[in-house]
């Protein structure tokens, strides 16, 4: 028996054990002949092919079933598996049933801590600590199959690191029945296709975290790559059972998309909301000292802090314009941006250079530790976050948690945060003067500022523990009917 025959034999054995029939391709074929249900067809296709079938491949198999019957279809697929070559040909499988399979593909392979990665890490870490019965997976490098994590990858949930050249191993996971959690935004065509394929199995319930629909509804602020891929991700989400959005505003967007898509789908996902958490540890003395050094913060001059990556959606050109107006009017403050350069920010950097040449008190920090970020919030008199469009608006929450008032956009998720406990001044981010006015009021109106600080300090914190627990119950435990409330 060669290597491929042995591998296919293992898959037959695993599926036979799962179906509780004798360990023989003919027995599997007879089972599919007797019960040609979509669920059985899907599991057979996935198990014998050692991959997650695309919806299209699944559709072909279902047609084969109708014309040729279960036995012939099964034997043909078994024959195909024996003729495979390459990595997939020698894969072995583990069939997983009635467990929660959690996809953390990107998060365990990157050292970046973008918003999405932060949510995934904080959530999965807590699910792990509280002993949730789940299996963490990522996709094999050929983009066809799921596998469990290596020890390094598993550790990477807690300790972000860059993972170069991951080794897949031979064993892949076939989720036959249960819940599949898509924690990340899927930005690749191949992965969207496979996610959709998972949703095609009637025995698998796909649940996803819904971050936002920015690439669909604000394409002018999205980079070209993501605007191209995002509809494919939405397509895959169409076969999900539920999407749990990170804010009411994000939920509104997903409901809008669902209505766009509803007329051509036999079913559409349910959409619920579990508002995101934010935690930020107060800065140490050393961090505060760092802030003075790096940001040039001083007690004599109010600090206006802007946190966020430099990309058009964050509206930093408008902040610069507002600052110019205020400086020109003689309002004294130091302006500090903390955030990485993303895309479309050439003009921002040009203007910063020019303002610095003119001696304006302005600093741009492109990389900051958590401690420095916390110190900056603490030192700041006000945080400014007039984003044009956000699924959540993390800097708004973080600033408020450390007792610093915010000036932010008067709609969507940002307004939602301010409405839930105060501490902020709402402005129109499409109007530079409105932003300038908001900043001026906080800087110059002491009564207002004190009220905002008091409100910020008395806000009830929302912890990651809360978020992780609620998300698990909405994604995994709740009956479907209660999700779309």
């Amino acid at each position: 028996m060669n290597e491929i025959e042995a591998a296919v034999g293992q898959r037959v054995t695993a599926l036979a054990a799962y179906w509780e029939v004798s360990d023989d391709p003919a027995a599997l074929a007879d089972t599919l002949e007797r019960d040609p249900s979509p669920e059985r067809m899907w599991t057979f296709l996935a198990a014998i092919g050692a991959e997650i079938p695309s919806r299209r491949a699944f559709g072909h198999a279902i047609r084969g079933l109708a014309v040729d019957g279960g036995r012939a279809t099964a034997l043909a697929l078994h024959g195909e598996a024996l003729r495979l070559s390459g990595e997939r040909a020698v894969r072995t499988i583990e069939i997983v049933a009635d467990r929660v399979v959690v996809d953390v593909h990107d998060t365990v392979a990157t050292e970046r801590t973008s918003g999405i990665q932060r949510v995934v890490r904080e959530t999965v870490r807590r699910w792990r600590v509280t002993g949730r019965d789940m299996l963490l997976v990522r996709w094999t490098s050929d983009g066809r199959s799921l596998r469990t994590l290596s020890t390094d990858e598993s550790d990477a949930i807690d300790q972000p690191r860059h993972m170069a050249g991951a080794v897949d191993g031979e064993r892949v996971i076939v989720p036959a029945r249960g819940v599949f959690v898509a924690t990340e935004l899927v930005a690749e065509t191949w992965r969207a296709r496979r996610l959709e394929g998972l949703g095609a199995n009637p025995a698998i319930r796909v649940g996803a975290i819904g971050y936002d629909c920015v690439p669909l509804t604000s394409s002018e602020t999205a980079s070209s790559g993501i605007a191209r891929q995002f509809p494919q991700y939405l397509q895959a989400l169409g076969s999900a059972d539920r999407i749990i959005a990170i804010s009411e505003a994000a939920g509104t967007e997903f409901r809008g998309w669902r209505r766009m898509a509803a007329s051509y789908r036999e079913r559409v996902p349910r959409i619920g909301v579990v508002p995101l958490a934010a935690e930020i540890a107060p800065p140490s003395e050393a961090d505060l000292a760092d802030a003075v050094r790096v940001l040039g913060a001083s007690p004599k001059r109010p600090l206006v802090l802007v946190v966020g990556s430099h990309e058009p959606r964050k509206n930093h050109l408008a902040v610069l314009e507002a600052a110019r107006q205020l400086w020109a009017q003689g309002v004294d403050f130091r302006l500090c941006f903390i955030g990485a350069t993303s895309w479309g920010s050439e003009r921002f950097h040009d203007e910063v250079d020019e303002l610095q040449r003119k001696g304006r008190p302005l600093v741009v920090v492109t990389a900051a530790s958590d401690g420095l970020l916390a110190a900056a919030y603490s030192r700041a008199t006000v945080s400014v976050f007039p984003s044009l469009h956000e699924g959540f608006g993390l800097p708004v929450v973080e600033s408020l948690m450390l007792g610093t008032p915010v000036v932010t956009s008067g709609y969507g998720s940002m307004k939602e945060i301010v409405d839930a406990g105060g501490g902020g001044v709402l402005v129109d981010p499409r109007d530079d003067s409105s932003i300038a006015d908001g900043i001026r009021r906080v800087l110059t109106d002491r009564t207002l500022r004190e009220r905002l600080v008091a409100e910020a300090r008395s806000r009830a914190p929302r912890s990651w523990d809360d978020y992780a627990a609620e998300l698990w119950s909405r994604l995994v435990e709740d009956e479907a009917e209660t999700v779309d409330a």
């Binding site: 109708a66 509804t217 394409s219 509104t252 998309w257």
Partner: protein, 498 residues
């Protein structure tokens, strides 16, 4: 740059400033600056800054740049003006355009303001002889508006997408009197004036090109003009697996125009709901979005078509099913073929004819499959294209038509088959379901192979059913292009004095 060039571009700038100044600058101040480009430029910028209205900045930008701005370009211009000292006002404003829009600064182009008009963007139909879906709508509606004496002005785009221009005679004819002569491709001349919408309504019966969408979004966002458009479908977003990724991206950019528009006139109630979904998502970014109306498209087959079809009834040797539509996964031809194959295995006798073009990639496999099935004795064929008479005769001679698309904005083949008196097997959702509501159809879930098979068998074998549906089809009074054009004009001209 030679001295002569410089003076030509200088003169052109003065001309452009003269064109916009009456809209922006008070008479007295304007007259004191007459003929002096530097003085007039200053007056325009000062007036715009004092007025504080975004539309004013937009118009000034067009005058200085001889091109429409994108939103970031307009923001840069506005902020530069806001910031400039009195002495540097003109220099700084020009410098900001220089950064954003280098190529247009020295343009010798002139501009002409179109104020308080209804302007129709026919950028594609005017410059192309292509004539399917959208172009047919354009070429059916606008001649009727013209005949009814509705006042509107046609617009095309300059070759460099700087902005609008007037379509030339051939181009106008291509839109207003299509059919006489398609004519050769045309291009704009460099001497064309840029046409500048101002306090006007722009109507988009086409989906504009990628670069144009950014400019149109800015026109609408600034308030220089408002925008109405026909909503055809949202297929590139909600059936992304059936289109190229680049098409999805292009459509997402088009949605940026939709988001800023005044009204969407959707071609079916289904499409109205789809756009309403998009509008519903906009509150997350603080935008109200357009109002969305449903104006169902016309289905008007020519009298000649009815005559040919009627004369062909009963001429087929075998009961014939016809399946119309381009070859692409969305149209679901594979499911139709699959059902027909099973019907053939059941021993039913029939003929199946597919009519429709497509990419080589789309139908290469399909053709091989057809050849195989023919070799097994199944009567099936596929025609890429067909003359009108031949097509009408084929439909007229068919027992029924099959159109089980996964997603359509309208589903024209369903409506056209019905208009020719032929029953249709179609999809039980979306716009096709909407059309089927008028009668003459068997509806099935297009993703359910069994349902398609059952529906096909019923239409093929159940004579009572067939007869009932055929008489229902004959009784449908299709919406005419006259009706559609009238309803659309009412919608597009809404709220404008004329």
């Amino acid at each position: 740059m030679t001295g002569a060039d410089a003076s030509a571009s200088h003169r052109a700038l003065l001309d452009r400033l003269n064109e916009v100044a009456p809209e922006l600058v008070a008479d007295a101040r304007r007259q004191s600056a007459v003929g002096d480009v530097a003085l007039l430029a200053r007056e325009v910028l000062t007036a715009v800054r004092d007025g504080g209205e975004l539309a004013g900045y937009w118009l000034a930008y067009v005058a200085f740049a001889a091109a429409f701005p994108t939103e970031p370009q307009l923001d840069g211009f506005r902020r530069a003006i806001h910031l400039a000292s009195e002495s540097d006002l003109v220099t700084d404003a020009l410098a900001s355009i220089e950064i954003a829009h280098r190529t247009h600064r020295r343009s010798t182009r002139t501009i002409r303001i179109l104020r308080d008009e209804i302007l129709v963007d026919v950028g594609f139909s005017a410059t192309h002889v292509h004539n399917t879906g959208i172009q047919r709508v354009v070429r059916s509606v606008l001649p009727r508006w013209s005949a009814a004496g509705h006042p509107f002005t046609l617009l095309a785009w300059t070759a460099d997408d700087a902005g609008y221009r007037e379509p030339n005679g051939v181009e106008q004819a291509r839109v207003l009197s299509w059919g006489a002569d398609g004519g050769a491709h045309t291009a704009d001349s460099p001497d064309d004036a840029l046409l500048v919408p101002w306090r006007s309504r722009i109507f988009l019966p086409e989906v504009p090109q990628y670069e144009q969408c950014r400019l149109l979004a800015c026109v609408a966002a600034s308030g220089a003009a408002d925008i109405d458009l026909i909503g055809y479908d949202v297929i590139p977003i909600t059936s992304a697996d059936t289109v190229m990724a680049a098409e999805s991206e292009r459509f997402a950019i088009y949605l940026d125009v939709v988001k800023r528009s005044r009204a969407v006139h959707a071609i079916s109630d289904t499409v109205r709901d789809e756009f309403a979904g998009f509008v519903g998502a906009l509150s997350a970014q603080g935008l109200p979005g357009p109002v969305v109306n449903g104006v169902s498209l016309a289905v008007d087959v020519p009298a000649a078509a009815r005559a040919v079809a009627a004369a062909s009834v009963g001429t087929a040797e075998l009961p014939t099913m016809v399946c119309l539509g381009s070859h692409e996964p969305r149209k679901n031809q594979e499911a139709v073929l699959f059902a027909a194959e099973r019907l053939h295995r059941e021993g039913r006798r029939f003929r199946l004819v597919f009519v429709g073009g497509g990419s080589r990639r789309a139908y290469a496999g399909f053709d091989r499959r057809l050849a195989l099935l023919r070799s097994r004795g199944m009567n099936v064929e596929s025609a890429r294209r067909m003359g009108d008479d031949e097509l009408w005769a084929l439909i007229g001679s068919s027992r029924f038509s099959v159109f089980v698309s996964l997603h359509e904005g309208f589903g024209l083949p369903v409506a056209e088959s019905l208009a020719l008196g032929i029953p249709v097997l179609t999809s039980s959702h979306g716009s096709m379901h909407e059309i089927a509501g008028h009668g003459g159809c068997v509806e099935v879930d297009p993703r359910d192979d069994e349902a398609i098979l059952d529906g096909m068998r019923a239409l093929l074998t159940d004579d009572a059913l067939h007869e009932r549906l055929a008489s229902e089809a004959a009784a449908i009074a299709p919406r005419t292009w006259d009706d559609y054009a009238r309803l659309l004009w009412d919608g597009v001209s809404e709220g404008r004095r004329r």
